[in-house]
């Protein structure tokens, strides 16, 4: 079986075949999302009569968005998600960078063991501790608070952050740090003014990796903070979609509202994310 696609010497036919496959797959990946977006601004009749058509002046109808904005507390949910994500992200990056710096910079007894201990959490999902986490949060009176979510997500994000940042902290030039030490800078100043700014690109990558699962998580909001005041956008839209399941305009509009901010953010940061995944590999 000779598959011409993998040949190193590309000719027109092979390139065309490569593009054809990639275009088909891109359509497969994007079309479902596109379909939801175009139907969210159509009238109920147009949604059912001709789901694949683009909205026109006759079929345009923003009734779904009106329902969502009137019935759902989406602004509040959005705000909760934003607070939880930003706060967790801040702690993961700060504490993760500090720990990574300590592990990469200083030799001390137990260094390797500490690194392994922190790396355990990369493979073992924090969800498995849910029963006891809920007990702890109940005992601490943190159920139905955003604090409980921030704590859980900080713990969840730290292992990978420490692991990745450690590699980058090692690459920070020793000469630079030693020069600073001779100038009398404290270890804290060295961390904040030299190491931290130099690993900023890596921090951005870690930020994107950490952010996506937090923003999208359904499990912990459902268990730790299901109250109306603390619902996140993911949980809020899940419940809204369940309640309005027969109101297609509202469902499609709610989905669109959930999709748009994430995709816009992704398109802004996608280079960072992809560069992070393909770290150093791009020739």
């Amino acid at each position: 079986m000779a598959n011409p696609l993998f040949s190193a010497r590309g000719n027109l036919g092979r390139t065309a075949a490569a593009h054809a496959i990639l275009i088909v797959y891109t359509i497969l990946a994007l079309y479902p999302v596109f379909l939801i977006l175009i139907n969210s601004v159509k009238s109920r009749r147009a949604i059912f009569n001709d789901p694949l058509a683009l909205p026109t002046a006759q079929t345009f109808d923003p009734i779904g968005f009106q329902t969502v904005l009137e019935q759902g507390n989406f602004l509040l949910y959005f705000q909760n998600s934003l607070i939880v994500t930003v706060a967790s992200l801040f702690f993961v990056l700060l504490f993760g960078a500090m720990a990574a710096f300590a592990l990469a910079e200083y030799r001390f007894r137990g260094n390797l063991l500490m690194g392994l201990y922190l790396a355990l959490g990369i493979m073992i999902p924090i969800r498995l501790g849910t029963v006891a986490i809920l007990e702890i949060m109940v005992a601490a009176g943190l159920v139905n608070t955003l604090t409980s979510l921030v704590l859980v997500y900080t713990a969840q994000g730290l292992p990978l952050a420490v692991f990745i940042l450690q590699e980058f902290m090692r690459q920070v030039s020793d000469d630079l740090k030693n020069a600073a030490r001779i100038d009398g800078l404290s270890e804290y100043r060295i961390f904040f003014t030299i190491a931290l700014p130099l690993v900023r690109p890596a921090m951005a990558t870690v930020a994107v990796f950490t952010m996506i699962p937090i923003w999208n998580d359904l499990w912990f909001p459902l268990i730790l903070a299901p109250g109306e005041a603390t619902k996140t956008l993911t949980l809020g839209s899940q419940i809204f979609l369940g309640q309005y399941v027969t109101d297609w305009n509202a469902v499609l509009a709610a989905l669109s509202l959930a999709i748009i901010p994430v995709v816009v953010l992704y398109l802004i940061f996608s280079r960072q994310l992809i560069r992070g995944i393909t770290k150093g590999a791009v020739k």
Binding site: S7, T15, L30, L218, L252, I259, I277, A281
Partner: protein
Amino acid sequence: MSDRARKRPFRWHIVVFLAPAVLIYTAIMIIPLFGTLNLSLFTRTEDGTRLFVGLQNFQTLFVDPRWSDAFWNATGNNLWFFIIHMLVQNPIGIALAAILSTPKLRFAAFYRTAIFIPAILSFVIVGFVWKLILSPLWGVAPTFMDALGLGDWFAPWLGLEESALTTLALISVWQFVGIPMMLIYAALLSIPDEVLEAAEMDGITGASQFWKIKLPLVLPTVGIISILTFVGNFNAFDLIYVTQGALAGPNFTTDILGSYLFRTFFGFQLQLGDPHMGATVATVMFGIILVGVSIYLFGVQTRLRRYQF
């Protein structure tokens, strides 16, 4: 120990740097993890006190038909869920990466970015989008299949006992195929040109170059992808909960360990929640994941040769 360390009495700054991360991680992740394992050894008596019962909960879970039927059902379903990912998601991901890494391919960045988009969406969005598209009420899927001449093959897959689980697994594959694609793509790019040129000198090009040179070189990455898929699948919950509800219908055919854990722990409808049985299920999941990770670390990873360029 470095010289500096010997001269200084105690370097407090190391403690300060490590403390916040270690404390939060230990308090919210490690202690609850062991707390959960510990809870699985107890049960609640009628007056509300905790009673140590040893491994009895596990016996109940494995052999008492009231629990074990649902548990083995969920485990089997979870295994199938994982197999579909390994058979569909990872090969497609590898193939896409191989095509993307064609030298001088134009628009590669665009394809990469676009194919990865579903992976950043939440399960709530993905689950509902597919629920709508596959709904016989809306008729998008039947229209499409008609256009392809497959109209008669359409069925409400998510609602049928024999196809619901596979359909959900394929939805999850659709969502996450970008991740193996991206990781393999990165690994393929890091193969030095000299290696490929040498292969070409020996007349190994095209498909045989992929099978004989490139694939063996990226096998460690394939290993990482497999273990990530394994951990992710045996810990999945959201997609099932969003599309089929906590009862994982129809008739529990889409029940996997994550949704079973949720029902056991919280209870649903007539069944009361039981934290101790919930902890037992979580402990079994922990065991499964641990076995998988150990097989990977000691059985697979050490045997895969790593090439340093």
